[in-house]
Amino acid sequence: MKKLTLKDSEYEIKKGKILRVRKMTAIETFFEIALPGGESLDHEPGQFVEVSLFGVGEAPISVTSSPTKRGSFELAVRNVGKVTGALHKLKEGDEVGIRGPFGKGFPVRIFEGNDLLCVAGGLGIVPLRSLINYVIDNRRDFGKVEILLGCKTPKDMLFNEEVDEWNKRLDVKLNCTVDKADPDWKGNVGLITSLIPGINLKPERTFAVVVGPPIMYKFVIKELLKKEIPERHILVSLERHMKCGLGKCGHCQINNFYCCQDGPVFSYDKIKNIPEAL
Amino acid sequence: MSKRNVSINVEYLTRVEGHGNIVVDVKNNKLETCQLQIVEAPRFFEGMLQGRSIFEAQHITCRICGICSCGHTLASIQAAEDAIGFIPSEQTTKLRKFLLHMENLDSHILHIYLLVAPDLLGVKSFVPLINTHNDIVRRALRMKKTCNDVCDILVGRHVHPISSIVGGFTKLPREKDIDAMHKLLHHLRKDMEATVELAAKFKFPEFERDTEYVGLVSDNDEYPMLTGEVGSTDGVRKNKKEYKSITNEFIVPHSSAKFAKLSRASYAVGALARFNLNSKKLHPKAKAVAKAVGLKPKCTNPYLNTVAQLVECVHSLEDGLEILEDLKKTGINYDEEIIVGLNEKGTIPVKAGNGVGAVEVPRGILFHNYEVDDQGIITKANCIIPTNQNVNNIEHDMKKLVPEILKKSDEEITLDLEMLVRAYDPCISCSAHFLDVKFVNR
C-alpha cells in the first residue's frame, strides 16, 4: 500500500490564529480568529466553518462575525463535548484548523430592499449576529429591521454589550425576553413566541429569519404564519450532526437534503414538507 | 546474642498474583506464629459453574486467573472431555501442548524478570530498572510480548484464549500463521540466551529443606506437561482420577485456602518439582542450561524454583519450535476446525460422567474435576490450584527459615520471606476460588 501526499484534499485545513478569547458565560466562549496573512474567510452570513483541533477532531461552528468585518472572523462556542471542550482551553496566540466556509447562508441579496425580522433563541444569536451586523453595516440597503431575542435567564444572554448597542440604535428595533427573570431584569418575561403577535409588519415585504433550538421553530413559525408572512420569506438555520461538511458523510442528512451543503439555512417553503427537518 | 523478637506482618504481599499476607511472630527466639494467609475475595466460581454447559466451563474457569488462563483452559477442557468421553485428535493435542509451552514460557518470563529480578537487583519493582537496566526491561517486555503475539496468532489472545475449546480449536493456524509463530520464536532465542546469561549471575539465598515433589510423570521420554500420571519424588504414582488422595486437602483456621499433603507434612509442585521428577526428559538445550547454571536434581532449595523456571523456558522454547516444525512438515488438517457451540448443535455427544484434568501449568500441577449429567450440564465442580498445594510447603519452609536468619534485621528477614513466597510464584487469586472452609475461631 502506497501513501501519497495530496495537494488538493478537501480535508486540508487552513491555520487560524486566535487573536482574542473572551469568556461569555459559564459555557460559552468567544474567539476572534485570523487566517494567515489576513486572508479573508470570504463567508456569507449564516455559513459555518469546520474548526479542527488535531488529536481531538472537528466541529461545525457558525461564523458569528459579519463579512464586513475584515482581517479576522469570530466564533462563539458552547462547551458541550470533546471538540468544543478542547476549544475552551485555548488561549490567545494558539492555532486552530479551519475548513470552509461551508453551506448556504442567509440570502442577503434577496433581503435587500425588504424589511427584516430576526428571531433568535439561545445560541441562535450566534449565526444571526453575523446577519444583523452585516445589515447594520449596509443599513441603507434594507428596510425596517426588528430583532427578537430570547434565552433562559438573563445570565445566559450572549453579546450583551453589542445587544445594548443595537438597542440604542434608531434604525434597529430590539426586543428581549427571558424564560425566567432575575431581580435586575427589566425586559420581557416569557417565551419568544409571545413577542410576535405584537409586532407590526408588512407580510409581503418582510423576511423573517429564525434561529434557535429545534423545539422553538415549530411555535415561532406558527406565529409568523399567523402574521401572513409568506412561507418563502421565513428562513431557518438547522443544526445537525456533521462530520465532513462536504455532503458525503451522511450524518447531517435531513431526508433528501444535506444540511451542510443544501443548508444550514433553508426557507420554510422548501422544508415544510420535509418531515425530518423541524 | 540477645533474645530476638520479630513481628512481621506483610499485608497485601506485592508482586504476586492475588492477595495474601505473611504473618511471623517470634518471641524470645521462639517462633510462635508463621503463616501465609490467603485473603483473596471469594468469587464463587464453583457455584457459578453449576447449571452451566460443560462446553462453557472453559470459558468461565479460564477467568479464575488471567495469568494462567491458558493453563486453566487446558485443564478445564481436559476434565470436560474426560467427563463426556471425548478423545481429542493428535493434531489438537499437539497444538495444546504448544499452547501450554507458550503459557509456561510467558508466565516464567514474567516471573523471572518482573517479579524476582527486582529483588535480586535490590529494587522495589521493575519500574526503577527502566532507568538503571533499560536493556533488561526492554528484553523482558519484548520476550513477554513475543509469547503474547504467538498466543494471539494461535488462540486469539493469551489472556482468556478464544479459539481453544472443548473438542479442539475453532480456528486453526494457516500456513502463514505457523511461519509467523516460528519466526517470532526463532527470534526469541537470542533473548533467551541473554536471559540465561543474566540468571547465571543471580545470587539466590542459600537455604535447603528436603520435601516431597509432586508432578506429572510418564513412561515415555516426553517431559510430561499435558498427559501422564501423577507421581512424587517419594515414589508415589497414581492415576489423575485419584487426585483427591494426592492432595489430601485439609483446613487450617488462619487461611482461606486449603492446605495439601501427601507422604510427608507438605509437598511442593511447580517448575522445581517437575525438574526434580523429570529432568532427564528435558530438551538437550535445556539440560545444557541446567548444567551451566548448576541445577541438579534433586534440588531442595526452594529459591531455585526460579532457576528451574529458566530451564523450563529453554525447554518450552525449543520443544515449541520443534512442534511448529513438525506441523509445518505434516501440514494442518483444517477439517478439524470446529464450530463453537457444539452443544447447541449437538455435534459432540454428551453423556453423564465425572472427568478430571491434570495439567502442569506454570506454578505446578492443576486439577479440574467436573461431574456432568446426561445433558452435559455441570452438577459439581472442583479445582485444585498449584498454589493451594504449595502454601503448606511454603509455611514449612518459613518455619525452618526464620530461625536460621534471626541474626538479620527485620527488613532483611521480611525480604527473605517475601522472596521465598515469591519464588513459588504463587497465584493467590486462583487459590481462593474453590474453597470450602470452616472458620473455627472467628
Binding site: M1, K2, K3, L4, T5, L6, K7, D8, S9, E10, Y11, E12, I13, K15, S52, L53, F54, G55, V56, G57, E58, R78, V80, G81, T84, E95, V96, G97, P213, P214, E239, R240, H241, K243, C244, L246, G247, K248, C249, G250, H251, Q253, I254, N255, N256, P275, E276 | -
Partner: protein, 355 residues
C-alpha cells in the same frame, strides 16, 4: 479486438500471469455459502459463481479504515493530507457490484470531489463477470436493471460453458489480454452462443417485484408514513449489518487517533451507519432519527428515492446483501412488495417488456 474468448482451462494461468506483477483480487469461498473478495495468486481458489460476497468490492474503493491525513500539532496545527492506494485488478465482479461501484463513482466525483476516492479508483482495473442465473431468492437485480452489464468494467467475462466470452471495453482491458496472451478472437459461433445465453437470461430473470422501476420514487413518496416502517423498526436490531454490506452505502465517521506523545497522529475515516445509535445525535442529546423505524425508512429512501432526485439513479443494485445478512429477517423484496401492495402500484407486466 473488441470481443475475445478465453478457454476455461486457461483461467488459472490467466490469473497466475496477472498476479505476477499486480495484486489480483477475486471472490473466494469462505464456507457456509459465504464469499469474500481476497487477494489471489492463482485461479484455484477463485469462486466465479459466487453469491454476492459478504462485503462488496467497495472496500477497495473506500476502505473500512482510511487515513486522510497525518498531523503534527506540536506548536501549531500542521497536517499532511494523504491517500493510501495501490494498483489492483478486481476479477469476477458481478454486474450488481459493477452498478454499486458506478453509484459510488457518482457520489464521490460530485463536487466537492473526494480526491482520495478518485485516486484509488484510478488505480483499480475491473474485470466483470456475468451471472447466467440468479444467486438466490434474495436477489432483485432485474428490478433495478443490474442483471446485465451497463459498462463500468475494463473486461467482462461471460460463461459460455467451456470458455469465457470476453468483452474488451477499455484500453486497460486490451492491454491485459495482450499481456497475458491467452485470448483468442471471438468467432461468429461464439457470438451465437452469447446470443443464446442472453436469450435464456431474459427468460430466467423476471421482475422480482411487480412495479415499474421508474415509478419507484413515486411509490416511496407516498409511503413515508406507511406502517411498514413501524414493523421494520420493531424487528430491526440496529446491528448495522445491512448498511455495512450494501454496495452503495458510503456514510462515514471522521476521527483523530493521536499517538502517545499526544502531538502527532492521524485523522482517519471509517465506515459508519445510519442504523447506529449515535449517528444523527447532536449535542443536547437530541437524535433526529432516534426510532429504529425512522432509521430503516431512511435507509430505504436513500436507495429508492433521494438518489433518484439527485443522480437520476436508484441506489439499490439488487444484490440482496442486506436481506441475506439481516438477523431480523428484514427482506428488501418483501418490503417492496408490501409497499407495492399498499400503494396499489402492482403491475404484473413490469419488467416483462422485451428488451
Amino acid at each position: 479486438m473488441q470481443y475475445a474468448v478465453l478457454k476455461k482451462e486457461y483461467l488459472n494461468e490467466f490469473i497466475t500471469r496477472l498476479a505476477q506483477d499486480q495484486k489480483v483480487i477475486a471472490p473466494v469461498a469462505k464456507g457456509y455459502n459465504q464469499f469474500a473478495f481476497e487477494e489471489v495468486k492463482s485461479g484455484e481458489k477463485v469462486a466465479l459463481d459466487h453469491i454476492p460476497t459478504i462485503l462488496p468490492p467497495k472496500k477497495y474503493f473506500m476502505p473500512q479504515y482510511e487515513t486522510l491525513a497525518t498531523y503534527h500539532a506540536n506548536s501549531s496545527q500542521k497536517m499532511n493530507p494523504v491517500v493510501e492506494c495501490e494498483d489492483l485488478i478486481l476479477f469476477g465482479v458481478h454486474t450488481c457490484d459493477l452498478a454499486g461501484i458506478q453509484c459510488l463513482n457518482m457520489v464521490f466525483s460530485e463536487r466537492p470531489k473526494d480526491i482520495n476516492y478518485l485516486i484509488r479508483k484510478s488505480k483499480i482495473t475491473i474485470i466483470g463477470y456475468g451471472c447466467n442465473d440468479y444467486c438466490d431468492e434474495y436477489a432483485s437485480c432485474r428490478l433495478v436493471h443490474s442483471h446485465t452489464p451497463n459498462g463500468g468494467y475494463d473486461l467482462f467475462f461471460i460463461n459460455l460453458g467451456d470458455k469465457f466470452f470476453v468483452h474488451i471495453n477499455t484500453l486497460a482491458g486490451d492491454e491485459i489480454t495482450e499481456k497475458t496472451n491467452l485470448f483468442e478472437p471471438a468467432t461468429p459461433a461464439d457470438l451465437n452462443a452469447l446470443a443464446k445465453i442472453r436469450e435464456k437470461k431474459r427468460e430466467i430473470f423476471a421482475n422480482e417485484v411487480p412495479v415499474v422501476h421508474e415509478r419507484m420514487p413515486e411509490m416511496f413518496s407516498k409511503s413515508y408514513d406507511s406502517n411498514v416502517w413501524e414493523d421494520l423498526g420493531k424487528r430491526c436490531l440496529a446491528c448495522g449489518n445491512c448498511t455495512n454490506v450494501c454496495p452503495t452505502c458510503y456514510c462515514f465517521d471522521v476521527t483523530d487517533e493521536p499517538n502517545l506523545d499526544l502531538q502527532t497522529g492521524k485523522r482517519f475515516r471509517r465506515w459508519d451507519s445510519c442504523q447506529n445509535e449515535a449517528f444523527a445525535k447532536v449535542a443536547g442529546g437530541e437524535s433526529f432519527r432516534k426510532e429504529r423505524s425512522a432509521r430503516q425508512r431512511h435507509r430505504y429512501f436513500r436507495k429508492f428515492k433521494y438518489p433518484m432526485e439527485k443522480f437520476s439513479r436508484l441506489f439499490c443494485t439488487g444484490c440482496g446483501r442486506c436481506s441475506r445478512t439481516c438477523m431480523a429477517k428484514i427482506n428488501l423484496k418483501e418490503t417492496l412488495n408490501q409497499l407495492v401492495e399498499e400503494q396499489g402500484m402492482k403491475n404484473l407486466k413490469a419488467g416483462r417488456e422485451t428488451e
